[in-house]
C-alpha cells in the first residue's frame, strides 16, 4: 500500500468513526427516551397527575410536585424577569465602556459558571437562615432566580444589541428621552429575543434539584402550596426521591414523573426555538 492509500483509508475510517460518534449521542438519547417512556407511560393517568404522595407506589401521584414546579416557575419569573432584563438593558444601553462595565461582564460570565449547588448554599444561608424563609417556595424561587439571572442578562443584551441604531436615532430625533426610546422602541423590538432567553432560562430552572435540596425543599409534602411561604416539593425532587427507592413500582413512578418533567422542559425549549425562528424571520431591518 502506498502512503496515499493509507491516508485514504484513515480518512474513510475516521468518517465511519465520525458517523458512529454523531449517532451514538442520538442513539443514547433515543434509547433513553424510549426506555423511560416504555417504563413510565402506562403509569401516567389522571389519578397520577392529581394524587398526593403516598407510601403505596400505585396510589402516589405528582400533584404536589407539579404544583410546586408551577409555583416555582411563576415566582422565579416574577423575580428574575425584571432583574435580568433590567440588568441586561443597563449594561447594553447605559453602561459606558468603563472599568465597571468590564468588571460586570466578567462577573456575569463567572456567575454563569458557578455550579448550581453553590447557589443552593447561598440560598440556604441568605434566604433560608438569615431571611428566615426556611425551605419555602419563596426561598426556592429566589435561589433559582439568582441561578438563571446570568442567562437572562446575556440573552437580553444580545436581543437589545440586535435592535439597529437607526431605530434609536429615529426615536431620539423626535424628542424621545432615553428611557422612552427604550420603552417604546427597543424593548418591543427585542421582546421576542428576550422572551426566548427567559424561557430557556426557565427550562433550566424547572430541571434543577440540587439547590432546592440544599435549601431544604421537602420530599413528602402532602398538600399543594397556597402561599409563597409554604413548604413545597418540585418534580425533580420527587423524581430524585422515587429514584432512590429500591422498589420497582417507585421507579415506574419516577419514570412517569420524568415523562411529565421532560414534556415541560421540551415544551419550554420548543417555544423558545419557535419564538427565535419567528423573530429571525420577522426582522428585516
Amino acid at each position: 500500500m502506498t502512503n496515499s492509500d493509507i491516508n485514504r483509508l484513515k480518512d474513510k475510517a475516521f468518517q465511519v468513526f465520525g458517523i458512529f460518534c454523531t449517532f451514538i449521542g442520538l442513539v443514547v438519547l433515543a434509547i433513553f427516551l424510549i426506555d423511560i417512556v416504555a417504563e413510565g407511560i402506562t403509569r401516567i393517568n389522571w389519578d397520577f397527575l392529581t394524587s398526593l404522595p403516598s407510601r403505596r407506589a400505585s396510589r402516589a401521584g405528582i400533584l404536589t410536585a407539579w404544583a410546586g414546579t408551577l409555583w416555582i416557575l411563576v415566582l422565579t419569573t416574577l423575580i428574575a424577569f425584571p432583574l435580568g432584563v433590567g440588568a441586561g438593558i443597563y449594561l447594553e444601553e447605559y453602561g459606558r465602556k468603563n472599568r465597571l462595565a468590564n468588571f460586570l461582564e466578567i462577573n456575569i460570565a463567572n456567575l454563569a459558571g458557578v455550579p448550581s449547588i453553590i447557589y443552593g448554599l447561598l440560598g440556604l444561608e441568605i434566604f433560608g437562615r438569615q431571611m428566615r424563609l426556611g425551605g419555602s417556595l419563596l426561598a426556592g424561587a429566589l435561589t433559582l432566580s439568582l441561578l438563571i439571572l446570568p442567562i437572562i442578562i446575556v440573552t437580553t443584551r444580545e436581543a437589545v444589541k440586535a435592535v439597529p441604531r437607526s431605530i434609536r436615532d429615529g426615536s431620539y430625533a423626535l424628542g424621545a428621552s432615553k428611557w422612552q426610546t427604550i420603552w417604546h422602541q427597543v424593548l418591543p423590538a427585542s421582546f421576542g429575543g428576550i422572551l426566548t432567553g427567559i424561557i430557556l432560562a426557565l427550562s433550566r430552572a424547572v430541571g434543577e434539584a440540587a439547590p432546592l435540596i440544599v435549601i431544604g425543599a421537602l420530599a413528602y409534602v402532602p398538600f399543594t402550596p397556597s402561599s409563597p411561604l409554604d413548604e413545597f416539593t418540585v418534580l425533580p425532587i420527587q423524581i430524585f426521591n422515587w429514584t432512590s427507592r429500591p422498589q420497582e413500582e417507585f421507579l415506574t413512578n419516577a419514570a412517569a414523573a420524568i415523562i411529565v418533567l421532560l414534556v415541560i422542559t421540551f415544551l419550554l425549549n420548543g417555544i423558545a426555538v419557535y419564538l427565535r425562528n419567528k423573530q429571525q424571520k420577522k426582522i428585516r431591518w
Binding site: 459606558r96 437607526s166 429615529g170 431620539y172 423626535l174 424628542g175 424621545a176 417604546h184 422602541q185
Partner: protein, 254 residues
C-alpha cells in the same frame, strides 16, 4: 416673505471623537426658511456637523464639542436647554429610512405620544396633516394601521419626514435623505423638500451634486473637517472660490 433671519449658527465650532478632531473651527450662519446643502467627500464631517444641531451626538461615547451652536440666537449646548425640547424644534431625517416596526399611524404620532398627547382626535388630525404635508396621505390613508415596514423605501422615507413634521419643528435636518432610494422616489423627495422650504429651515447633506444644485439655496463645502466654502448654491457651482471646491464639484475626487 419677510426679511430672513439667521436661524442656525455655528461659532468657532470644534468637534472631537475622543482624540480624533472631526470638525475644525467651523463658522457658519444659515438663513431661516432656506435650504442649505452640505457637500464634501466621505468622512469630511458633514454628518457630524449636521448632528450637532439637534445634539444627536450626545450619546456617542467620547464625543465632545467646543464653541457654540446657536438656534434662534440661543446656545443649544447651554445647561438649561433641554434636549427633548430642542429636538421638537429641530427635526431629523436619516439616510436610510428608519420607520419604527409599528403601524403607519403609530409612526407618525410617536413624537406626539411621547409628549403625553393621548387624545385620539388630536392625534388623528395631526397624522393626516403631516402625511399630507409629506405628500404621502393619498398613498396610505387606507392602511394607516398596517405595518410601516410594508411600505416601499421611498414611501418609508416620506413617512419618516411626516413623522418629523408631526411635532411641528422649525428646522429639518436631512442626512442624505434620498441616497438609499430609486430615482423616482428621489425625485418625489426633492419635490417635497422644495415645497417644505416655505415653512421650514432645511439643512441637507448630500453626495449628489445635481441634487444640491436642484434643491438648495445655499451650499457649504466641507473638506477634512474644515468648512472650505459657503455660498449661494448658484454662485458656488458656477464660480467656486477655493480650488478644492472646484476639484470636488467637477468630480476630480470624492
Amino acid at each position: 416673505m419677510s426679511k430672513k433671519e439667521n436661524k442656525l449658527e455655528a461659532k468657532n465650532l470644534d468637534a472631537y471623537y475622543g482624540d480624533f478632531h472631526a470638525l475644525k473651527n467651523i463658522n457658519i450662519a444659515m438663513e431661516e426658511k432656506a435650504v442649505t446643502a452640505f457637500i464634501g467627500p466621505s468622512g469630511c464631517g458633514k454628518s457630524t456637523f449636521l448632528r450637532t444641531f439637534n445634539r444627536m451626538n450626545d450619546y456617542i461615547d467620547g464625543f465632545r464639542i467646543e464653541g457654540q451652536i446657536l438656534l434662534d440666537g440661543r446656545d443649544i449646548y447651554n445647561k438649561d436647554i433641554r434636549v427633548d425640547e430642542l429636538r421638537k424644534e429641530v427635526g431629523m431625517v436619516f439616510q436610510k429610512p428608519n420607520p419604527f416596526p409599528k403601524s403607519i399611524f403609530e409612526n407618525v404620532v410617536y413624537g406626539l405620544k411621547i409628549q403625553g398627547i393621548k387624545k385620539k382626535s388630536v392625534l388623528e388630525e395631526a397624522a393626516e396633516k403631516s402625511l399630507r404635508h409629506a405628500a404621502l396621505w393619498d398613498e396610505v390613508k387606507d392602511k394607516l394601521n398596517k405595518s410601516a415596514l410594508a411600505l416601499s423605501g421611498g414611501q418609508q422615507q416620506r413617512l419618516c419626514i411626516a413623522r418629523a413634521l408631526a411635532i411641528s419643528p422649525s428646522v429639518l435636518l436631512m442626512d442624505e435623505p434620498a441616497s438609499a432610494l430609486d430615482p423616482i422616489s428621489t425625485a418625489k423627495i426633492e419635490e417635497l423638500i422644495y415645497t417644505l422650504k416655505n415653512e421650514y429651515t432645511i439643512v441637507i447633506v448630500t453626495h449628489n451634486m445635481q441634487q444640491a444644485g436642484r434643491v438648495s439655496d445655499y451650499t457649504a463645502f466641507f473638506y477634512m473637517g474644515e468648512l472650505v466654502e459657503h455660498n449661494k448654491t448658484r454662485t458656488m457651482f458656477t464660480s467656486p472660490k477655493d480650488e478644492r471646491t472646484q476639484n470636488y464639484i467637477t468630480g476630480r475626487f470624492g
